[in-house]
């Protein structure tokens, strides 16, 4: 699957095949609905290609295996879902502190706790803000189609090595389980030179160590400043988003991941009904496109955040808008995706209320 021909493929399989095409040399994973097909797919493909595959004893072990593998300069990944990704938070903090290029795919299900296998978007906070200790940031990419699952998997491996930082591909049960046409093409990203830091054995040089612990206070402080300078560079270079018909819009529907599909459809219906709606969709949830949202808010455009959680991305949109326009929320915690009709009628009610109040 390396040409431009479109194939009908499930999101989970698309991620797995894209990882192979991106040069992922090792996969370490543990079953967890709704992402288990990724491991199943790779369990036959990786040995065929002479690459590494381990059914880890836990998600804890799986992500630490990834840390070991990627510290040697090879590409490796693990995949999991929400409550099991919670188990990996310690390792993500280490991976940031160690500056090792871990790639983690989270195909979200409902929470908190075990929750259930319904699709949901409740891991925005877990991904963007993380549950690990200390000051760190992870690059988070949110695909909305199976094609984007392919494209962003390629990008995840590239960004992880380019910046020596963990990357999360944040999909959800809907994307993981549905079939859609997608083409794989070639991995468009160049190979990153890892020779200055990768652990390859102390041949012709001194031993190298990759670690986050600095018993010297000044070194620890400097390390964190260095990390945050890197995050600034990432924000400058890699922040990405899509926007549709925002130029003349009064109200901008905002969503991430697969909810993007429904706000685009809702925007069209609202425009037919005479409501000037636009769409804004962050591709990188971290770094978050605050600057662009702020520009749009300055123009007096209101934002309606549509998400399958209790209002997690809402906080980042509010932070970006900085009180310059109105921010509202249309949401459901999990389960049946908010339909185009529901979004349209909710927006209509908001517009009516605003009109009645003379706002």
């Amino acid at each position: 699957m390396k040409n431009n021909e479109k194939v009908l493929i499930k999101g989970n399989y698309a991620i797995a095949q894209a990882a192979i095409n991106a040069g992922c040399q090792c996969y370490f994973g543990y079953p967890m609905t709704p992402q288990t097909e990724i491991g199943e797919y790779l369990s036959s493909k990786m040995p065929e290609l002479g690459r590494g595959f381990v059914c880890a004893e836990s998600e804890l072990a799986a992500i630490n295996m990834v840390i070991g593998a990627v510290s040697t300069g090879v590409k490796a990944m693990t995949t999991s879902s929400s409550c099991a990704v919670a188990l990996m938070q310690e390792a993500l903090s280490y991976a940031c502190g160690d500056e090792v290029p871990v790639v983690l795919v989270n195909v979200m299900r409902a929470g908190p706790g075990l929750g259930y296998i319904y699709p949901a978007q409740g891991d925005y906070n877990q991904s963007v803000y993380g549950g690990g200790n200390g000051d760190y940031k992870i690059i988070v990419l949110a695909p909305s189609t199976v094609q984007e699952c392919v494209n962003y998997t390629y990008r995840a491996f590239y960004l992880a090595q380019k910046y020596r930082n963990p990357v999360i591909l944040l999909a959800d049960g809907l994307l993981g389980q549905m079939m859609e046409p997608a083409s794989f093409g070639e991995n468009p990203y160049p190979e990153v030179d890892v020779s200055s830091w990768a652990l390859t054995g102390a041949k012709g040089r001194e031993g190298r160590a990759i670690y986050s612990c600095a018993p010297d206070e000044k070194k620890q402080i400097q390390h964190i400043y260095n990390l945050f300078r890197k995050f600034e560079v990432i924000a400058e270079n890699e922040t990405s988003y899509d926007e549709f018909e925002v130029e003349d819009a009064d109200i901008i529907l905002t969503a991430f991941g697969s909810m993007t599909r429904n706000i685009k459809a809702a925007m069209k219906v609202l425009r037919e009904k005479g409501i000037k709606a636009g769409c804004f969709r962050p591709i990188t949830l971290s770094p978050f496109p605050s600057k662009r949202i702020n520009e749009l808010a300055k123009q007096g455009k209101d934002f309606v955040v549509v998400e399958m959680n209790m209002g997690q991305m809402l906080k980042d949109v509010e932070y970006s808008v900085k009180g310059q326009s109105k921010v509202s929320l249309i949401n459901r915690p999990c389960g049946e995706w908010l339909s185009v009709e529901e979004i349209v009628s909710s927006v209509e009610k908001m517009v009516e209320v605003s009109y009645a109040a003379g706002i």
């Binding site: 804890l60 630490n64 102390a202 031993g207 990759i210 670690y211 612990c213």
Partner: protein
């Protein structure tokens, strides 16, 4: 004049041990470095380090090291080895790291027969945090979290690590050694060499548990601490080779 003693090539030349005076870690690390030199492994070695008294291993050993979170050294070593089957990979962990918080990772690495070596320093206590009860604390032993002595009703029993690892089908070699006397140090080096060799021969998981003194947390002189290793630890944790598939073949 013949030089009879020098710092092994695989140790850094400007290091300062963070180990307490009289602790056996220093001997263990030196044995590892000597073997890396003697077996010609330095250029292909990647060590997965751990959390605890061993945390600064990368400051002493002049080999490539990846820091693993507490208990995860065997998982990290698995990742290194699967990505680089031609490299020599080992972990260096304490008993808390290997057999308490990391027991799942340790056992499963042995069960998978990962071609890595693991070294576990057993000093019957959590040393780095100041002498709390650990998975190997022996019955009746007083620690800061077992002030009345380890008691079955409250604390259950210590784990016999080398015997458990020997039961795993993927283990090629498992032994328990001590560093209290010169003959024991020589035996320890032989066991470590075997644990390294089974990896190089692609036979499976190599494991050595090293009984170690902890004079600081035991509140003993180094000499008395070694006496305790002999008189109190060895009856509970007998020295010996519990599995050696190369011997079985012969």
């Amino acid at each position: 004049m013949q030089q009879v003693f020098s710092i092994p090539n695989s140790m850094k030349k400007d290091f300062k041990y963070t180990f307490c005076p009289g602790c056996d870690h220093g001997i263990a690390v030196r044995l590892v470095a000597e073997l890396i030199d003697e077996m010609g492994l330095k250029e292909k070695t990647i060590c997965s380090t751990s959390i605890g008294c061993s945390v600064f291993l990368y400051d002493f050993l002049d080999v490539d090291c990846i820091e693993a979170p507490h208990g995860r050294a065997c998982a990290s070593a698995t990742g290194v080895k699967r990505a680089n089957p031609d490299k020599f990979v080992f972990t260096y962990q304490g008993d808390g790291d290997f057999a308490s918080i990391g027991l799942a990772e340790s056992m499963h690495t042995a069960l998978r027969g990962e071609k890595v070596a693991a070294i576990c320093i057993n000093n019957t206590t959590y040393g780095m945090t100041g002498g709390q009860m650990g998975p190997t604390t022996i019955m009746g032993q007083i620690t800061t979290t077992s002030p009345a002595g380890r008691n079955v009703d409250y604390n259950g029993y210590p784990i016999k690590i080398a015997e458990h690892i020997a039961l795993c089908d993927g283990t090629a070699f498992s032994a328990r050694v001590a560093l209290d006397t010169v003959p024991h140090i020589n035996e320890a080096k032989k066991a470590l060499k075997k644990a390294f060799q089974v990896q190089l021969d692609g036979l499976g998981f190599g494991f050595v548990e090293i009984l170690s003194s902890c004079p600081t947390n035991w509140h003993m002189s180094p000499e008395d601490a070694h006496k305790r290793v002999r008189e109190e630890m060895m009856p509970v944790f007998p020295l010996g080779v519990f599995k050696d598939i190369t011997a079985e073949v012969k």
